[in-house]
Symmetry: C2
Subunit: 209 residues, 2 copies
Amino acid sequence: MDHLRDPKAIYEMSFKIIEKETALDQYPPSLRPVVVRMIHACGMVDLTNDIAFRGDVMKAGQAALAAGKPILCDCEMVRSGITKRFLPDVELAQCYLNDERTPALAKELGTTRSAAQVELWGDAAEGAIIVIGNAPTTLFKVIEMVEAGHMQPAAIIATPVGFVGAAESKDALTQSRVSVPYITVTGRRGGSAMASAAMNAIALGGQQL
Amino acid sequence: MDHLRDPKAIYEMSFKIIEKETALDQYPPSLRPVVVRMIHACGMVDLTNDIAFRGDVMKAGQAALAAGKPILCDCEMVRSGITKRFLPDVELAQCYLNDERTPALAKELGTTRSAAQVELWGDAAEGAIIVIGNAPTTLFKVIEMVEAGHMQPAAIIATPVGFVGAAESKDALTQSRVSVPYITVTGRRGGSAMASAAMNAIALGGQQL
């Protein structure tokens, strides 16, 4: 069957189509590669209807990576979707969901493992990049911690997905007093691929590949 | 912030909302849990506009798992999204994308690593479940191999995503002479989360959790 087989050509044509079909000039230049990669990950150019942001996640995220700060992922799919060769150190991408301490902590706190893991980040969250692609409860917890002054991450990528809490958690972010730079997709849409894609764009620093 | 924290309650409410907003009776009973989980993974009830299938992936997939056949994933995100405790054996979920032989093979064949890995499946693909959440080139390759009689998997979950080849590869599947049971999402939409979710539904065999 006739189709493109060259990975570089496939990427280039994908990005060209997205640029043609999307009004990217509504975003600051530094955010455009992030938006392009998020759209690339889901195949939906109308994602722009729902993308919301504060500050410059590209600049903040790049500075965090340069300082060797970790990338704290809410689930293994997000961590898996981060292209390790784009990172200064593969060990920076971390996920505490399956940490052996998480189930007991979740039970103790009466919450999900996704939310409980945030308690395990401790000092690692200071200046870190937080990437949430799945769980609204993780995002709610992060907003609470930041608003209470218990956590000061460098940037937040927040695309939890689904029918219960996803839209609400992202509305809570956009309406919060959180001054941390973030990018999000309001409503029910989201997912790990989108979150990893945004992170990959930041790690690439605006380079296409 | 007030929100649901009990994971079981979150799942139940999510599935209730999906059932309320979706005309599930357009699907055979065995496929409904698969469709529900695919929608759950992406937050979009209008996914039903694009879902296409042939045969009974639930029945075929369950038989494959019972026979200890592998689940061959096109990328690590798909493998990561498969809930290992739902499987009879965690080792069944496999991905050859990062196999050490794949890059040289891709170069030799003039294709992507995603497509080249299919050559490495060999006998493992006989009676296996193939789960493609990312790469159109993997799906094109699988269709070619099956049509040529070089491969006889038990079931195909095919939700490659994006702007170059995704829609075309899924159209090739629905228009093919492939008699293998499959479920797919036509058009640009798709992704690893959707693919893993369909696989998880099969592994659960229609149980909600």
